[in-house]
Symmetry: C2
DNA sequence: TTGTACGCGTTATCAA
DNA sequence: TTGATAACGCGTACAA
């Protein structure tokens, strides 16, 4: 018995018909006698025949595969996005091939190469923190390969972007802290080359402005690595001066917020009585820490679904009007928990 | 077909040589004049030539792709495993195609079909909670397609399994609680059809036994869904009776532990003073919750790496001795934090 | 040193 | 109603 899978040729040989007949019979093409059709289908069943997707790809110049490039899988938000992507792709008969960059530009370029070699029909990307030159993506777009950016979106002509309303998320978060009576609200900002960092910060600034609170540059600190350790240390410094210290923190995301909370606790300060805290993304742990963390919900699954739906549309209908879909912005929602409400 | 993807034929035509010459020149085959080689390579560079992986797959009957089937991406442990898988696969020039089952058997079978159609060279699997019949996997093994199971491993002849020592993890956790002076230790067990649930429970039982503590069946409760809500409710019931209530919890995993912690707090009990808690898997949030949760480290990245290395070995060397690698067990490590140490 | 021919699995096209 | 052929892109045995 031959290794591997039965092919159309195997069926044809065994039944003494041509492979085209088998192909047509299997696909219920008109003009095949009922008899032949039955013979073929029965044998196919018996041999456990399965069409070879690789051969199909070659024949049709279409791989039914979409590529996904993300910074890292081990990141709650990205894992939810992947989940949404996989879900929609699977339902539409597309495969997902996955590549993580570990936030390295070199690796990212390498991933794009791999994707190209593998003839992906389209690509979903959230680029790395190191990426400032987008030519490897622009090349793809120039080759007319559909590309959709999500979450971290570049400023590229003809790019299609899916993201949440980071500005409004930042605004909501900050406004909420103001409404709760906090006045010296610090912002732990994200890496400055990411548009999301800029947007969240702008939302923060706008909320302060709108409430007539003057902006104190000392209260805005960038967290380039955006991990809990970095944020812990930054906060220790930030809280050193008891006079000028902030009374609330709006963090770029929940991990940063968690680091801040640890710093606050380690200084013997109370959350939310002394310091209020709001995060971003609503990581899984947000509701489980103590006190539960108020956070801006960033609907990862929906982002993944939406981005994939758009990508599939672009793949299936090349003449789609890019202008209309070039910037999809999903709504955020503030999930209020104890970390920011004094009388919760 | 994507515009601008140059093929060997394009190069051949332009240079007035045969495509075999181009093919050979590109791969530095002997017997090609330096001159031709240079011409070909230069033009390839200029045209941005990239070998078509699909054509190569067909030609070589090898896809350089491995499939990964997991219950869900949005699960910290699995996301770490995927990360390890992707890392090793990428380094070895293999692609990763991903399929999640959402814990559904039907979907799982469907995923296997997809993988087969796509001619994966090998498969990594952690099966769904619903799966009790493994014939869809056994078929693969019978077809001599390399399959490696990780974390959730079946009892199948010739299967290759990679897992952590769940028994010893359960034992460590329980022993630690005993050493801390806890005596009425409850176990919130995982879904009963998973070997990992059984193993962790056996470790728990053995530790009690070895310490001469009698086993109270009322203190062992299964959590079939293993989410925080379920565990919260189970714990409320478990703690209703102030006389017979447990003084510690060993949970199947950290999410279950987190649910338990919420229940404990909501009843006004203190952790670890009144109730000690130990989880499993060391989810990312374990160190961030209050009090930080003692947990059994389950090295997901290493599991992913190890499983992939073994799979690639099986793919590249069909004559490998399965007996020797049929059961790889990685060590767990107990990370002791405040949730289980009264005088931390 | 280079070219020809074939096959990997499939299907569209034309011919019978 | 069915068959033969070519083509998708590539590599390679064989021929020149």
């Amino acid at each position: 018995m031959k290794l591997g899978q039965a092919t159309i040729k195997d069926i044809a040989r065994e039944l003494n018909v041509s492979s085209s007949t088998v192909s047509r019979a299997l696909k219920d093409y008109p003009g095949i006698s009922f008899e032949t059709k039955k013979k073929v289908k029965d044998l196919a069943e018996k041999l456990n025949y399965r069409p070879n997707a690789i051969a199909l790809s070659l024949r049709k110049s279409k791989s039914f595969t979409i590529g996904v490039i993300i910074p890292e899988v081990v990141h709650f938000f990205f894992s939810t996005v992947i989940s949404g992507i996989e879900e929609v792709a699977f339902k539409n008969g597309y495969n997902v091939i996955l590549c993580q960059t570990n936030e390295k530009l070199e690796r990212e370029i390498n991933c794009v190469e791999t994707m190209l070699s593998n003839q992906i029909d389209g690509l979903l990307v959230s680029y790395s923190k190191e990426t400032t030159d987008f030519s490897h993506f622009i090349n793809l777009i120039d080759m007319e390969i559909p590309v959709v950016f999500f979450d971290r979106i570049p400023n590229i002509k003809n790019a299609v972007n899916v993201t949440v309303n980071d500005f409004s998320g930042g605004y909501q978060a900050t406004k909420h802290l103001i409404d709760q009576g906090y006045r010296r609200i610090a912002h732990l900002a994200g890496p400055s080359n990411l548009a999301i960092s800029k947007k969240r910060k702008e939302g923060y600034l706008a909320a302060l402005s709108d409430s007539g609170i003057s902006i104190d540059e000392n209260l805005i600190v960038e967290c380039p690595s955006a991990n809990e350790k970095e944020s812990f240390e930054i906060c220790l410094r930030l809280f050193k001066d008891p006079i000028n210290r902030p009374d609330a923190i709006f963090a770029h995301h929940d991990i940063v917020a968690a680091g801040a909370m640890m710093a606050i606790k380690s200084l013997g300060l109370r959350i939310p009585e002394d310091i209020g805290v709001v995060g971003f993304s609503n990581w899984q742990f947000a509701s489980m820490i103590d006190p539960p963390l108020t956070s801006v919900l960033q609907p990862g699954i929906q982002i993944g679904e939406k981005a994939t739906k758009i990508l599939l549309e672009m793949i299936q209908n090349k003449d789609i009007n890019h202008q209309e879909i070039s910037n999809v912005v999903l709504d955020t929602e503030l999930l209020i928990r104890k970390s920011s409400v004094k009388n919760y």
